[in-house]
């Protein structure tokens, strides 16, 4: 049991847990979509008075903010009590591709070159994190959902718009990976 908890979980078990979360939320009359929180946070900060898009009763979305807080706690628990400290089980092909771009072999779950404090204190490092976040937040609302809302909930409901959005996610991801990465790294 301890070993099961501290080892990385298999893809099929992880998939079952994720879809269970979706059904749990459906049973409680909610829908699984994480990026709505970004809009809710804007609305809760009071900008709805100036921008119509944020003028809605955000308190109806409070449950999702509570879910967000839970997710932060879950990350903390996973690291403190359920981690064996091993680096991510990345394929050798990816390790080799990334080393050609200047990334060292993983020794944790995130590259120090991007998420270490030293990286953040450089202009390039800061811009990568800031622009990456900006594009995710902007794109998620433009597309009307993120991975949970479109790729999981939407595809499970066989929604064509969600399929189009997921295709868009991949076009963007492939352009970044194969066109832009060689230019910036």
């Amino acid at each position: 049991m301890i070993e099961f908890l501290t080892q990385p979980w298999s893809w099929w078990f992880s998939g079952i847990v994720i879809v269970s979360i979706m059904f749990f939320l459906l049973y409680f009359g909610k829908s699984f979509g994480f990026s709505s929180n970004l809009r809710t946070i804007c609305s809760a900060s009071g900008v709805g008075k100036k921008v119509k898009y944020f003028d809605f009763n955000w308190k109806r979305q409070a449950w999702n903010l509570v879910f967000l807080v839970g997710a932060v706690i879950g990350g903390f628990i996973a690291n403190q009590f359920m981690s064996n400290g091993d680096p991510v089980l990345l394929s050798e092909a990816t390790i080799s591709d990334l080393s050609a771009l200047g990334f060292s072999r993983p020794n944790s779950i995130q590259p120090e070159e991007l998420f270490g404090w030293e990286a953040l204190l450089t202009l390039k490092g800061f811009l990568i994190l800031a622009i990456g976040g900006f594009l995710v937040g902007f794109g998620a609302r433009y597309a009307g959902g993120c991975t949970s809302g479109h790729a999981i909930s939407g595809l499970a409901d066989l929604q064509i718009p969600s399929l189009i959005a997921v295709i868009g996610f991949f076009i963007g991801g492939l352009i970044m990976t194969f066109v832009i990465f060689p230019l910036i790294f």
Binding site: I18, Y53, V88, A140
Partner: protein
């Protein structure tokens, strides 16, 4: 107290994002390079089981805990907004290695620099809200 269940399911979400390694920038790179089945297996399992479950919910007209029928609202029909919005999202997903959920899980996990990513995701959402009517949808 009615929110405690959402807190707990959020904790489970955070744990599964961490234990599946879906919160890792490396794993997202591996996915976009088609060098492992792992991420496809996670999403694929969730989608296949999700589709079966949603079909059953619709067929049996199942109800939620408050007795309301569970309804799935069709998303607005469009191609432009989903392709362009999705593409912008995908650029950011590959660059930061995180979609909105995993961003906050990373913060809890101890990657505090991810706070910058999350903050700018909020800024991105805000800017979308401001210029929304000028964009093709």
């Amino acid at each position: 107290m009615k929110f405690i269940k959402f807190l707990l399911v959020g904790v489970v979400f955070g744990i599964v994002m961490a234990k599946s390694e879906a919160l890792s920038w490396f794993r997202i790179q591996e996915m976009f390079r088609f060098q492992s089945f792992h991420m496809y297996g996670i999403i694929g399992t969730a989608v296949v089981l999700g589709a079966l479950g949603v079909a059953v919910i619709k067929k049996l007209k199942m109800h939620d805990n408050e007795g309301n029928q569970i309804i799935f609202y069709p998303k607005a029909k469009s191609v432009v907004r989903y392709i362009i919005g999705g593409l912008i999202f995908g650029l950011g997903w590959a660059l930061s290695g995180a979609c909105p959920g995993p961003m906050v899980v990373n913060i809890g996990y101890g990657y505090l620099t991810m706070t910058v990513v999350f903050f700018f995701a909020i800024v991105g959402t805000f800017v979308y809200g401001v210029i929304k009517d000028k964009l093709p949808h």
